[in-house]
Symmetry: C2
Subunit: 335 residues, 2 copies
């Protein structure tokens, strides 16, 4: 791999795919050749990588011949179809969809949290849901230090989680409002501009959304803590690209707020901004564009002797998606 | 009182004061005479009540002679000064500020929750903080049915909670963004358009905000449950006028989701909108302008055998402020 590897980016024209191309450049991923793939209607378009135009190809087995690593940002249905085909063609697939995450044969990896898991792959490695990634960054050091028992996780999720169309919906709805026009919901079930939609993904009869289930199941799998108790609530908010999560956690061993801040500061990929009296805390607008997740509002829970409350913000397109996938690809190269 | 009562509205030019005037009309409060009061810089302006212009007066004891009920929407510092003066002038003061709520001599009242408390007043009755009011509406029937033990309350608070200036900040910042201009924060410590600010009110060294303390202390006082455990997190969101709260509750006695929905539906001032599979749930945009709080996303907590999770939305200017104050005034008239 002295001259680098051949990388395929699948879903290259979408929000996560575009960010993936940018992050491969930023992190100087050793790309010898880049191939871009997308759905039928984007075939023939071009994307830009390292200053050069790359033609978007159709997803077909022969086109993946010679690919070392494929980073896949397709939808769940497509990923279920594409990933095994691409893996059979000889590439290692890093898949960002919900299609493979809970497959027992597929490692689900956040490189700062469970890098060891990557080795067990059979050609496909999954990257978790964006909200799981942001939430798990501060949960991991707390789990290591005091063993997590229960987590109440309440999310504030940006529209970029719904891709380019989500971003356009907030933009266009807000511009219509600014022009004094009636606002027509564009992509979400309801208007998102100046509103909150307490529903992400489809629902099961027990009243939980797919997004909430992902938070439970993926967190347990990544932390290898099948009995961890999690009470999730996921909400879409009119913010462009960062997800925020309010976490209330109980640990087996008491962790003070001061100790928690030390643990967070020492954890790779996590930064602490926590001086609320000086108006310093993580916010979507200040975290946007950063690879690190940022944690603040750390305090001991007045309602539980071994409880902590905190607030974490992460760029959904970066650490929540593209950065994590590229980090997985880096792990693959090193292992 | 056959011909009605004389009502003073203090802070009549502010967001809550304006809504108070509207709600006195809507609810056909028996107003014989209405007097409007505001801070020095608004003296001489007029407000409209029942189609007539009312001149705004200076807050001075003689001006309250003959007033039966004064609804006070002033700031905390002014309310501490004004309320006793107005009460000495013979009026019963319904105060919406944070100045009197935790005074043991002052009842803190949500009419659907603790109407009996109003009788113990000594001239001043306090209306709770907006977030407390919205959260306590579904908490009360759960407390009566199963005794609340612990509540994790995570808020999504609209800019109207910061008054007219908060509303203008979100409006102006968003309009600047739409014009492609740089956005300058107008009223909050940071830009609120397309952002989240996880800090409301000032902070104590333990990391909690005044807003979070209010939620704890006021909820305990209203429910007469001094030992109730509450873990609060309050966040400002780019929404104009409704507050939303995600509640995770533990009760002494198990309450099923179905039973909780029955309890909510039977509780005055509360409506249930809860069919997420059909995209029906409470949202700020659909609750705006309503006096009722609306609850949905009711589900049994997968992480606790006697836990429930739910989502409640209330119009901050109405039930969160003006409607609750006018309802207290109605209670006073009836008692």
């Amino acid at each position: 791999m002295a001259n680098g590897v051949t990388v395929a980016v699948v879903g290259a024209t979408g929000a996560a795919g575009q960010t993936t191309l940018k992050i491969l450049e930023e992190r100087k991923f050793p790309v010898r050749e880049l191939r871009a793939f997308a759905s039928e209607r984007s075939v023939g378009k071009t994307v830009t990588f390292a200053g050069e135009s790359v033609k978007v190809q159709r997803v077909e087995a022969p086109a993946f011949k010679g690919v070392d690593i494929a980073i896949c940002s397709a939808g769940t249905a497509q990923a279920r179809e594409y990933a095994p085909m691409i893996a059979r063609a000889g590439a290692i697939v890093v898949d960002k969809s919900n299609g493979w995450r809970m497959d027992p044969q597929v490692p689900l990896v956040v490189p700062e949290v469970n890098p060891h898991a990557v080795r067990a792959h059979h050609g496909i490695i999954a990257s978790p849901n964006c909200t799981t990634i942001v939430a798990i960054m501060p949960l991991k050091p707390l789990h290591d230090a005091g063993r997590l028992r229960r987590v109440v996780a309440t999310s504030y999720q940006s529209v970029s989680g719904a891709g380019v169309q989500g971003i356009e919906a907030l933009r266009e709805e807000t511009l219509a409002w600014a022009r004094g026009e009636a606002v027509t919901p564009k992509h979400f079930a309801h208007q998102i501009a100046f509103n909150l939609i307490p529903a992400i993904d489809t629902f099961t009869p027990d009243g939980y959304s797919g997004e909430e289930r992902k938070l439970i199941n993926e967190t347990r799998k990544i932390l290898e803590a099948p009995d961890l108790l999690i009470a999730p609530m996921t909400v879409r908010v009119p913010v462009f690209t960062c997800h925020s999560v309010a976490l209330n956690v109980e640990t087996d061993t008491k962790i003070t707020a001061a100790r928690a801040r030390e643990l967070f500061a020492a954890f790779p990929g996590l930064r602490v901004v926590d001086d609320p009296a000086a108006q310093q805390y993580p916010m979507p607008l200040t975290v946007e564009g950063q690879d690190d997740c940022v944690v603040g509002r750390v305090r001991e829970d007045l309602s539980h002797p071994r409880g902590l409350s905190l607030w974490v913000v992460g760029d959904q397109l970066r650490k929540g998606a593209a950065t994590n996938a590229v980090q997985i690809a880096e792990l693959v190269l090193r292992s």
